[in-house]
């Protein structure tokens, strides 16, 4: 059933077995897993079934670095959460993303990828995408279609799947019909009330913007409010003037990470007519080989071996085509044939002669003369890199409060010099590989030791790490079961538990971890 919490009498006390805070990808996945259980579940959602500006404003906070995506634009605070506007890109983290790796501090998960595969497979169904297959061949991309240098050893073609699923609209009916699940809309978690030692949550205070206040008592509580709000709720809970829950080692809110998005530069292909059909680009392609139409995106990434050998974090590289106008190409080809030329800047100059050095210019000209395809002048690179875990990158409570009298948050997002060095090294390696393969030349946007990030750098909407998972409570907020260190009945779901990320989009992993947590809670309660 779905209940508007504004209709509850003030002071209502609700008893349940499981209380989940937040009805986004993680919260809805958890609640659905419990629909056939014999225990009761309460799912709290701050917003309603549709967008409401007043509720969305509760996300307002202060960014100390404005190159981070705006807090009110990067998230959605109503039933379904941010999946109401997500792009649907699904890709599991790679085995290497889970590893503790030399040269990359604070990296690694408490378990490996193979362990999580079981839940990844189930997450595919929840996200309503194709089978758990991510090899390019499974998507009709054969190795011989992939041009060097993108078929190894350093750079490879990778595939992600596109989910069409808005979790709110897709799963509202399931939860509405479930006899043991009560969804409360317009119900904001205010603070956890704990026992004397802050070891156990006794109840959760809840409020509506209308002024209504009530409480939930549960055996188990799960915070699934998003990568920033999870930490915020821990920081605002516990004893007055205390450090917050799970924060005995000052870890809550730290290690805040996003994916780093920036333009990587330009590639001039030696052959303007090179066949790049293996690469779908951001727009993606549709594959029907699995019996249904399934959207996917093929892109370029570092191979696992290279990430390990060169101590590089993950990177997702896509490009956009900059086409030569056909008329220009034909006239250029004629000039070429006549031994004439025109100088139009380094890019144009290089574009004209790179093929000579790489040994394919004659082919390109022949193709141009016979009008075979549209010639490519350049490939403009869009990069998305993994941010390295950084203790100094954090969120904390502001003195300013929101409409519910909860402290707003301040985001002090910080990168390390290594983030830039690793990104530059990846691009430099790409430039070398492109040259080695005779594919063309790269102009890197991160040029030199003292290079600045490209002006278009921005930290994206994938908020991670603020309640990170670690077996050592000094280095993490939750344990390997996603239970808050030192607490008996408080869990966290969502990307805030990611100890490190990769270049993959996080939602599939969020759902996989939610399924795993659901199994854990079912085992605990049944």
């Amino acid at each position: 059933m779905i209940i508007d919490a504004r209709s509850l009498p003030g002071g209502t006390k609700i008893d349940t077995e499981v209380c989940i805070v937040g009805a986004g990808a993680a919260g809805i996945t958890l609640a659905r897993e419990f629909t056939s259980a014999r225990f009761r579940v309460v799912l709290l959602e701050s917003g309603g079934l549709e967008f409401e500006a007043e509720t969305q404003d509760l996300y307002e906070g202060r960014l100390l670095d404005t190159t981070l995506a705006a807090l009110t634009a990067s998230r959605l605070r109503f039933f379904g959460g941010t999946t109401n506007h997500w792009g649907g890109w699904c890709l599991p983290y790679e085995a290497v993303d889970f590893e503790v790796r030399q040269g990359l501090p604070h990296r690694g998960w408490p378990f490996d990828k193979a362990y999580l595969d079981l839940w990844y497979r189930r997450a595919q169904e929840v996200c309503q995408i194709g089978p758990y297959e991510y090899g390019p061949v499974s998507w009709g991309i054969w190795p011989e279609q992939i041009v060097p240098p993108f078929r190894g050893p350093n750079f490879v073609c990778k595939v992600l799947q596109q989910s069409p699923t808005r979790f709110g609209s897709a799963y509202e009916a399931d939860l509405r019909q479930a006899g043991n699940v009560a969804v409360y809309l317009h119900a904001n978690a205010l603070t956890f009330v704990t026992d004397e030692m802050d070891k156990q949550v006794n109840k959760l205070s809840v409020g509506s913007l209308s002024g209504n206040r009530f409480s939930i008592s549960a055996r188990v509580y799960v915070i699934a409010a998003g990568g920033i709000e999870n930490a915020r709720l821990l920081l605002t809970s516990g004893k007055p003037n205390g450090p917050g829950l799970g924060n005995q080692h000052d870890c809550v809110g730290r290690f805040f990470m996003v994916n780093l998005n920036y333009s990587g530069g330009q590639i001039i292909p030696s052959d303007p007519y090179v066949n790049l059909d293996f690469f779908s680009g951001r727009a993606g392609s549709v594959y029907t080989g699995f019996g249904a139409r399934q959207g996917f995106v093929s892109f370029i990434g570092l191979s696992a071996e290279t990430m390990r050998d060169l101590q590089l974090p993950g990177a997702k590289i896509l490009w956009q085509y900059k086409f030569k106008p056909v008329a220009d190409a034909v006239s250029a080809a004629r000039r070429f044939a006549a031994g004439e030329s025109s100088s139009e800047g380094t890019l144009a100059d290089l574009a004209k002669i790179i093929g000579n050095l790489d040994g394919i210019s004659e082919l390109a000209v022949r193709k141009a003369l016979f009008h075979q395809g549209l010639p490519v002048e350049a490939l403009t690179l869009d990069c998305s890199s993994e941010q390295l875990p950084n203790w100094e990158s954090r969120i904390f409570l502001d003195i300013e409060r929101d409409a519910l009298d909860i402290p707003k948050i301040v985001v002090d997002w910080r990168l390390t010099p290594d983030d830039k060095k690793k990104a530059a090294a990846t691009l430099r390696l790409l430039g070398r590989e492109i040259g080695r393969a005779g594919f063309g030349r790269l102009r890197s946007s991160l040029d030199g030791e003292d290079a600045r990030w490209p002006e278009d750098l921005y930290g994206d909407e994938h908020h991670m790490g603020t309640t990170r998972m670690h077996v050592d409570p000094r280095l993490g907020v939750v344990d390997a079961d996603c239970r808050v260190h030192g607490m008996t009945n408080l869990y966290v779901a969502g990307s805030s538990v990611f100890p490190t990320s990769g270049a993959s989009n996080p939602t599939l992993t969020i759902v996989a971890l939610a399924l795993r947590l659901a199994d854990h809670i079912k085992e605990r309660l049944m």
Binding site: T346, S361, R428, L442
Partner: protein, 151 residues
């Protein structure tokens, strides 16, 4: 035809000198004193390599501004480009083979990381020298005023 013959002969001398030094592992000796003819030969080499010499020269000017070459003369520059190109002077030396060898050397540069970053472009050391050679051949350019970053 006579020009072709002469140019190739001089070029072969260059290659031979470079080849000997390559075998010996020493820096390439200087070529014979510059002459209008040797420039013609180098132009012939570059014409064989580049469909558009003016474009190569334009890039060479950018390279010169960004990265001063250590070689002070055209001949030294040519030697450094051709040093290590494994050509047997008596048996081969055809321009297509030189072209092939240089191409392989460029790829080897990329493999070994012998690259330069010129205005962000990641270029092999060998091709950079070729561009500079083209620039110097086509027009006397001013000496560079700022260093490049090593790739």
């Amino acid at each position: 035809m006579k020009t072709d013959f002469l140019s190739r002969r001089t070029l072969f001398a260059t290659i031979a000198a470079s080849w000997v030094s390559w075998i010996a592992g020493n820096p390439a000796p200087s070529l014979p004193e510059p002459s209008p003819v040797s420039s013609v030969f180098l132009r012939e080499l570059l014409t064989e390599l580049f469909s558009d010499l003016r474009c190569a020269a334009a890039i060479g000017r950018v390279c010169l501004r960004a990265s001063p070459p250590q070689q002070s003369s055209l001949e030294d520059l040519a030697s450094s480009i051709l040093a290590g190109v494994p050509i047997e002077p008596k048996r081969s030396g055809s321009l297509p083979q030189i072209r092939y060898s240089i191409r392989e050397r460029i790829r080897s540069n990329f493999t070994e990381g012998d690259t330069l970053s010129i205005d962000g472009w990641i270029l092999s050391v060998t091709e950079t020298r070729l561009y500079v050679l083209a620039a110097r051949l086509l027009d006397g350019v001013e000496e560079p005023d700022r260093p490049a970053t090593s790739g």
